[in-house]
Symmetry: C3
Subunit: 205 residues, 3 copies
């Protein structure tokens, strides 16, 4: 219930950040809608296709798809105001990252997969929307180059799965992991925590 509410908030926020990315690339309205949808629903779709878990969420609930498209069109209208809401969007994006991750873990577990696949599904659900967005916009995906993001997904997933193993009640553990992951992401942004980078140069031209 809580996760569904957060999911709906999160796909709306992600669709709007996707629309802004498309706007930075001067795409037309169709491109804006597509990038918005892919950013919001792409992570879960990649997860379900890799697991063979049909029907996909948005195929079963086309209303989520419609919501993302409406959010994208709204973004075009209110774009001039968006710069005042930058912090709000970063917060909503953090909520989305953590909620997506937990949903991904729960889907994998409900299909009978073990903890390795469950964490991977959590991370995929959390970050793959942004990766496809950046690939379609022809950028090197941001998630590989900025403040802790995928790591937040991984830590959230591992915390949740560890708590479950230790016998913490399901709903307490969801709340705890949500809160911990969210706080971790906010701290990472505030303090510009970054993962170490791997810099490799060879003499191949």
């Amino acid at each position: 219930m809580l996760l569904t509410t957060l999911y709906i908030i999160a796909i709306t926020a992600e669709a709007m950040t996707g629309a802004l990315s498309a706007g930075r690339r001067h795409m037309d309205w169709f491109g804006v809608a597509l990038i918005a949808v892919v950013t919001a629903l792409g992570g879960g779709s990649v997860r379900d296709v890799l697991l063979g878990n049909y029907p996909l969420t948005w195929v079963k609930h086309p209303e989520y798809l419609v919501l993302c498209i409406v959010a994208a069109m709204l973004t075009i209208v209110i774009a001039p105001l968006m710069k005042h809401f930058k912090s709000l969007f970063l917060v909503l994006d953090a909520v989305g990252l953590v909620a997506f991750t937990l949903i991904g873990c729960k889907v994998a577990i409900s299909l009978g997969h073990g903890v390795v696949i469950a964490s991977v599904c959590g991370v995929i659900t959390g970050v793959f929307g942004g990766i496809i967005r950046d690939t379609l916009c022809n950028d090197v995906p941001l998630v590989f180059q900025r403040e802790l993001y995928a790591s937040v997904a991984l830590v959230t997933a591992v915390a949740y799965l560890a708590g479950r193993q230790l016998g913490v009640g399901e709903s307490q553990m969801v709340l705890l992991a949500l809160f911990a992951g969210f706080l971790f992401r906010l701290l990472a942004m505030r303090n510009h925590w970054e993962m170490p980078k791997f810099i490799y140069q060879d003499d191949v031209h």
Copy 2:
């Protein structure tokens, strides 16, 4: 029957435009064949993977795959002549866009999906081949930046689905939607109709 004929014409034409794209990037013959195949068959494959609709068309009918590869190799041979056929290819591409879209709608409906998913499947089938082609060639997909293209797919899909709801006979409605979509695309090219673009600049570096 008509749709199958148009489908075969369309995948041939799309394979040839894919081959030309690969040639512009100086790819080798393998790259040319791959880009051709992906351009022609990619839209339908993405649709079927998202719907879990197995086997994919070209897995069931490998002859379509062979046709695309032959068309790609032929394009290499006759490339010096291709500039004389530019208008023909734009026309065939328009036929393909509309035929692919209708086939996508029909597949979704035959699987029991509603009108939202059916229109989305129509648009995906119509335009995704070109999107994957441009992503593999490392361009921002053209479909997001030029004359009405995806919009033609959407209008065609909506017209077809609306006609069905209103009780127009299946084959009449296919013909009508084919003709209307095709005309719309030709008019869009002739008059350089474009979708409005969303241009967003923020002060983030």
Copy 3:
């Protein structure tokens, strides 16, 4: 048995080359792990998703996924030494290409597909990991622009499938195709054999 051993060697080597690619793009450790996993396991995953062949190998055997991640992290540690092992990696990569291709053929055949789809599955398994790697790193895929690579996969697949049709025993044919494909790739690298390129220029701006 032999193929499983070669598969494990191959995914380790491919994961390490993926990690080096990520390092050239200054990605963080998460990006390194992801590119490594995608390079090593992406070809087989694309094949299985296109065939609807679930569960994917790494979902059934998460230990392969863990192996790739460990190999990627190890690559970061020993990166300064990597330039001394360039030839070794090219050899391991050739082993991987040929082993992946044969595995792809065998999977398709075991699912009842014919020779066209089996060769296509061989080639996809052999080369798609590298294609996704280069797309995520925002390059035009190398496989389209350098020495014979996909062609080696195709020749290996066709040789194996032809031998089977001619009644050569399964294990002899695997050995033969492995050896022939491997030799072909080494010769192609040594002599800089390349596929002809298709170079197309038109006057469209």
